[in-house]
Symmetry: C2
Amino acid sequence: MTKRVKLKDIAEALGISITTVSRALNNKSDINQATRRKILEMASEMDYKPNNLAISLRKNKSAQVIGVVLPIINHYFFSTVLKGIMTRAHLHNYMVLVGESLHVLQKEKQILEEFVDYGVSGILIAPCLGSNFEQNLLPIIHRRIPTVVMDRMYENYNGNFVLTNDYKGAFDAVEHLIKNGYTKIAHLSSLDAHSVGAERRKGYLDALKKNEITPNPDYLKQLDLKEEVKSIRAAYFATESLFKLDNPPDAIFTVTDEIALGVYQYAQENNINIPNDLGIVGFSNAMISKYISPQLTTVEQNGILMGETAYDFFHQALHSNGHLFQKTFDSNLIVRESSIPK
Amino acid sequence: MTKRVKLKDIAEALGISITTVSRALNNKSDINQATRRKILEMASEMDYKPNNLAISLRKNKSAQVIGVVLPIINHYFFSTVLKGIMTRAHLHNYMVLVGESLHVLQKEKQILEEFVDYGVSGILIAPCLGSNFEQNLLPIIHRRIPTVVMDRMYENYNGNFVLTNDYKGAFDAVEHLIKNGYTKIAHLSSLDAHSVGAERRKGYLDALKKNEITPNPDYLKQLDLKEEVKSIRAAYFATESLFKLDNPPDAIFTVTDEIALGVYQYAQENNINIPNDLGIVGFSNAMISKYISPQLTTVEQNGILMGETAYDFFHQALHSNGHLFQKTFDSNLIVRESSIPK
DNA sequence: AATATTTCCGAAAACGTTTTCGGAAATATT
DNA sequence: AATATTTCCGAAAACGTTTTCGGAAATATT
């Protein structure tokens, strides 16, 4: 391995001081143009690459790195958010560290601490289910590390965030089903710890009430969403139990598109025709939703935009003093085949 | 912001030297047990966190960071590989930087350079389509940075890699179709630049030949896979053109599961029954393949395992001197509904 | 009791940069 | 021609650690 060249090597090669070399490479004033040119030439000839560690240490600021914490990495929505973050970060020459909490509180905390110890300039986090604000995030905010919360909300949180209007999205979805003639609308929801799920559940209930439909408690099923495959399986069985009711539903609003897959599976196996026997609306416009049959009506959640905005908020927060950046995106319904009028 | 505590603060608080504090925290010898205890107590009381930048600089080794370069981040297989990498990296206290090349050669090069400049300890890369080994990867290998190539292969590359046996996977898939009575087997393949696609195409052709079926050139379609949505659309039209042939195929082997989605879509819209009119086998066992209807027969590609192995290879390469680590995983066929016997 | 060994600690240098301060040389101003 | 100003450069300190070297104090060995 050829030793990495440093300022000293360039300085010695040209018989000048390290200070001057540094000045030339950093486009500082106080330097003769001819000297600068010589230095730049020599630097490129020797293939000089600055040592970012030393620079960061000296400047007392971390490198251009942000940390992104996601519950699950191989998940369509989250990886799309990550994509959005990365495109913007790349533009600003920031690098992106990624951590996967797997919806485990302790792991989330550990990742955050590692990121902070490492010296990231900012944290972008989609909190895990049941994430504890005081325990996991507050210490970081106290350190004045710009932080943006994505996708889901903490109670009483007042910092930067980027959210989807889950309530309204769900409300619109259910009202769409009602307008299309469905009346017995079930909902496959999440457990309570899930703020996103809670919001969507509220939207569901309020849409029913506004349209003078009394919510049927039998129609509301709460599933554990921590693991995708298991949750789809759970959705399958939840659908089964719905159809064992004396008065089964004629439509289901699912808290995510993935959950809708479980419903599709049960319907397929039991000759329940979608949408004639059962209307379905999902949430998030996952890649699959357009390719399953019949195509799934869903509430769009723009992951790219959310990621891009999250990065931009971080970047603005870094350069503004304590100002808050908050955005709730409206989500719009994408009407497809799974919910056509009865 | 409370100033970050450093060794000096602990030293002053206890009236001892920085050297001793450092020794205590690093579990070095040459220190009195009582002193060590006092120091550890004080350190935890003052909430001391070591400055990794300084440590790395002093030790003259980069931080515990690896760089992962993927063509597309919100893609099921690649994000699953990333997951595998991350679980192993986390175990060894390595952090993971991620970059997305978007199948753009220049961008891939830029990401690699950024990673190297940044001082990563290793590079794990799934090369983009048409990636140039000499141009993009060789400079890094010359710097003796442990590198593992994942999923696809460079010509004449002789370094660490983790691959799937694409040839055999494809061969098995096509032979499975033949055994199940399909004889007019088409293949939706990739463009030539795609080594994975090329291997699978060879497997397809050889399986036909071995079973004394003359490959029909009309049955081989090559698609651009750079963008998922576009490629699915292209698959749709390729299927259309296949069915406009005088003698349309009775089965299609698709280079990926995603490409199969385009076939499903065309079949659905044109009342072509899968598998009765058209058998289908995909490749990679994407999440969707189990949830579309009928369930897709596919060749499993274990992304988690590939990612884990890639990390392990990096780790071993870091500690061994120039030894090569290479593995080609056998891929096994998962038989589902889309290819049942005629 | 003298000497040898061990235990424990600190001063200082070093990793590769940036930045402050000061000053010599060149140039501009009287 | 004397002085003021500007241009350009270098020495040294600093960022927060680790490590080398040396040595004082305590303990063990004769």
